[in-house]
């Protein structure tokens, strides 16, 4: 019987297999950052263990870094201490680090792909649940806890039980104005925050094939919000074109050999998935969340649901609690929800295409006077590229703040936070209570919905805007 892509990658990395034990899997690339690594390094020190493969380990500073005044020391002493600890650990164990201010610094899941370190068929881990992002290249990539970080540092392997596989087939063509963010939010609303639990999701179908690499990364990034540890997309010409020419990509004859190997990674025609979900991509519309978990979403054209409309008692209670926290009344049109802040950025939607898409909406327009908008590129390279294209000027002319790279307001470990009661349209990945700052209220949206919302002040799609003023050519 044929195998799925996930099974092929898994099988190619088994170091040790024994009855009654998890498989011991080799890890091709280990990404680390300052938040989930200090206790792992401390564990190594206490046990007198070295890092087995510093050459397969890469560190970046992202969660804590401020997005303003990055030439100065971090003001928050605990954040500074954590970042300094990463620097000391990387120096001690011989690990390459991209620190704040470095041209290669950025969110760990933006840095790997942009340097060509993320390639098809690899196993990639990081102490961060959005490691699923790298699955867009046909890599098996997943988030791990700090004990596992220590384990990978010491052994370059992880003991793991095989995942089940789920095919998510998206048929048809996404309508104009519908992005991969809308698609993944619709998938999560359909299968639920626990629907992917225990599975690797493989996104397939013509709507997926038509997407750019960056759009695919957005989808795989949020696999974890459906409960799946990993999401994957089969490598194809789009993948190869993206990787080719990047620093760590193979060259010359090696490139041809690598592509040939990658082409063999796709799921066999006769492979059987443990579960299958089919979504009609052509029927999708802009999608936003109204609640406090990523599964609590609806089309932008809909209203805040009535908790009584949920058949399941648990879902009803969760919806009631969510509406209370979000300060929303059932029946309110989502388009009428007024926001205070718009956040464009994160490992979900902080790449150059995301910034371009938003800038196209904002060009020649002015921000709603009651809204503040933060634009935070996912990496310093994205920042430089955007500035080369003049996007920074579009954002600042519009009235948005143009910042330096980091995780920023996605989780508010740096000073970019919501205040209690503040409402935000955010291109990030989690609308959990307090995620963006204590008491803050989050609506997850796509980059163009974020942009249109900043114009109107209420949750909006570009189609809701008055015609764009004629652009000065």
């Amino acid at each position: 019987m044929g195998r799925t892509m996930a099974e092929k990658v898994w099988d190619a990395h088994v170091v040790h297999r024994a009855e009654g034990e998890p498989d011991l899997l080799y890890i091709d690339m280990h990404l680390i950052h300052e938040v989930t690594s200090p206790q792992a390094f401390e564990g190594l020190r206490q046990a007198g263990r070295p890092v087995r493969r510093p050459d397969l380990t890469l560190a970046t500073e992202d969660h804590n870094v401020p997005t303003l005044h990055i030439d100065q020391p971090i003001a928050d002493p605990t954040s500074r201490k954590q970042v300094e600890t990463l620097r000391a650990n990387c120096a001690e164990f011989g690990i390459r680090l991209y620190p704040m201010g470095d041209a290669e610094q950025g969110i760990v899941h933006v840095v790997g792909p942009q340097r060509g370190l993320t390639q098809p068929g690899m196993t990639i881990v990081c102490g961060d649940s959005h490691t699923s992002t790298h699955g867009a290249f046909g890599a098996l990539a997943f988030g791990i806890g700090t004990s596992e970080v220590e384990h990978v540092l010491a052994t370059q392997t992880l003991p793991l039980r095989p995942f089940k596989t789920m095919a998510i087939t998206v048929t048809g063509e996404l309508p104009h104005g519908v992005s991969s963010k809308d698609l993944i939010l619709a998938v999560i609303a359909k299968i639920g925050t626990g629907g992917g639990q225990g599975y690797v999701l493989e996104y397939r179908g013509e709507a997926i094939r038509a997407l750019s690499m960056e759009a695919r990364m957005t989808i795989c990034n949020m696999s974890i919000e459906a409960g799946a540890r990993a999401g994957m997309i089969a490598p194809d010409q789009t993948t190869f074109d993206y990787i080719r020419g990047r620093e760590h990509a193979p060259t010359g004859a090696d490139w041809d050999a690598a592509v040939e190997r990658w082409q063999g990674l796709v799921t066999d025609d006769d492979a059987v998935f443990d579960a299958e979900v089919v979504i009609d991509g052509s029927a999708l519309t802009p999608f936003v969340t109204w609640g406090t978990n990523p599964g609590q979403g609806a089309p932008l054209s809909a209203s805040v649901p009535d908790p009584e409309s949920f058949a399941d008692e648990g879902e009803r209670q969760a919806a009631q609690r969510a509406l209370a926290y979000m300060d929303l009344a059932a029946g309110t049109l989502l388009r009428d929800i007024r926001v205070d802040t718009v956040f464009l950025g994160s490992c979900t939607n902080g790449r150059i295409e995301d910034l371009r898409a938003a800038a196209d909406v904002l060009r020649g327009r002015r921000i709603d006077p009651n809204v503040r908008m933060l634009v935070v590129p996912g990496s310093m390279r994205v920042k430089v590229q955007a500035e080369r294209e003049g996007l920074d000027k579009v954002f600042t002319d519009f009235g948005a703040e143009w910042r330096s790279a980091g995780c920023s307001m996605c989780l508010g470990m740096n000073p970019d936070q919501l205040t209690p009661g503040e409402r935000c349209a955010s291109t990030s990945n989690r609308n959990f209570e307090g995620r963006q700052g204590k008491g803050g209220r989050t609506h997850l949206v796509s980059p163009v919905v974020a942009a249109a919302t900043a114009v109107r002040g209420t949750l909006s799609a570009p189609a809701d805007l008055d015609p764009q003023p004629a652009l000065v050519g």
Binding site: V15, H16, L24, Y26, M29, V35, T36, P38, Q39, E42, D55, L56, T57, H63, T78, S79, K81, Q82, G94, R96, L97, Q119, M122, G127, D128, S129, G143, I144, G145, S147, H151, A154, T155, Q156, T157, P159, T193, G194, Q197, G198, E225, G227, H248, A249, P250, A257, R261, G314, E315, Q317, A318, R321, L411, G412, M413, F432, E433, G434, K438, G439
Partner: protein
């Protein structure tokens, strides 16, 4: 890791689904570089509400947390497990755990006991109606007892064995160091490396 065999302690009914790790410990509490002292961050936002279950004197000293489905979703932060354990929680009971949380729990010595939705509801109801009652958990027998209730729980056999023995994962893996070296010799030369440290 400390071995786990049986535990008896006050049960805490947390009637919520999707208790994500941002609720268990908000990001602002993740800045420590030590492995202990995270108890002040446990459910920090919810504990500000006087009606929250851990603010009820009867449950405050509890050590067995009974929650709704999809416990531990979201961020991979192992600090969630450390915060629960630093507070004194030794067992979390739920009908469904997020994968990464369950893995982290097993590494840290926190028992994540999966029960059926019906049994979960029975435990929640009993503890809500009998504040301060104890729950006993027997890992070898995979059984939870509480008042008149006696329910089974699920845990994968490997994690169960490691918890019972208190075994360190890295030491277990290093028994296969030769296999790792052999595997490395067969890896494709085309695979990327990050190069030497810039330091």
């Amino acid at each position: 890791m400390k071995a786990f065999s049986t535990h008896t302690g006050v049960g805490i009914p947390l009637r919520r689904s999707n208790v994500d790790t941002d609720q268990i410990i908000p990001a602002v509490y993740l800045k420590r570089i030590s492995r202990t002292g995270f108890e002040d961050g446990l459910f920090a936002a919810w504990r500000a509400d006087p009606a929250f279950v851990l603010n009820d004197e009867a449950y405050r000293a509890g050590s067995v947390l009974v929650a709704g489905p999809d416990f531990g979703t979201g961020s991979s932060r192992e600090h969630a497990v450390w915060a629960l354990m630093d507070y004194g929680i030794r067992v979390v009971i739920s009908p469904r755990f997020a994968d990464i949380f369950r893995g982290n729990a097993g590494k840290g010595g926190l028992l994540a006991a999966q029960v059926t939705p019906d049994d979960d509801e029975l435990l929640l109801k009993w503890l809500e109606n009998h504040p301060g009652d104890s729950v006993s958990v027997d890992l070898a027998e995979q059984r939870i007892t509480c008042g008149p209730l006696s329910v089974a729980f699920q845990i994968d056999p490997y994690t169960k064995w490691r918890l019972l023995e208190g075994l360190d994962d890295i030491a277990l893996t290093l028994r296969h160091a030769d296999s790792i070296t052999q595997f490395e010799a067969t890896r494709s030369a085309l695979l990327p490396t990050v190069g030497a440290s810039a330091a």
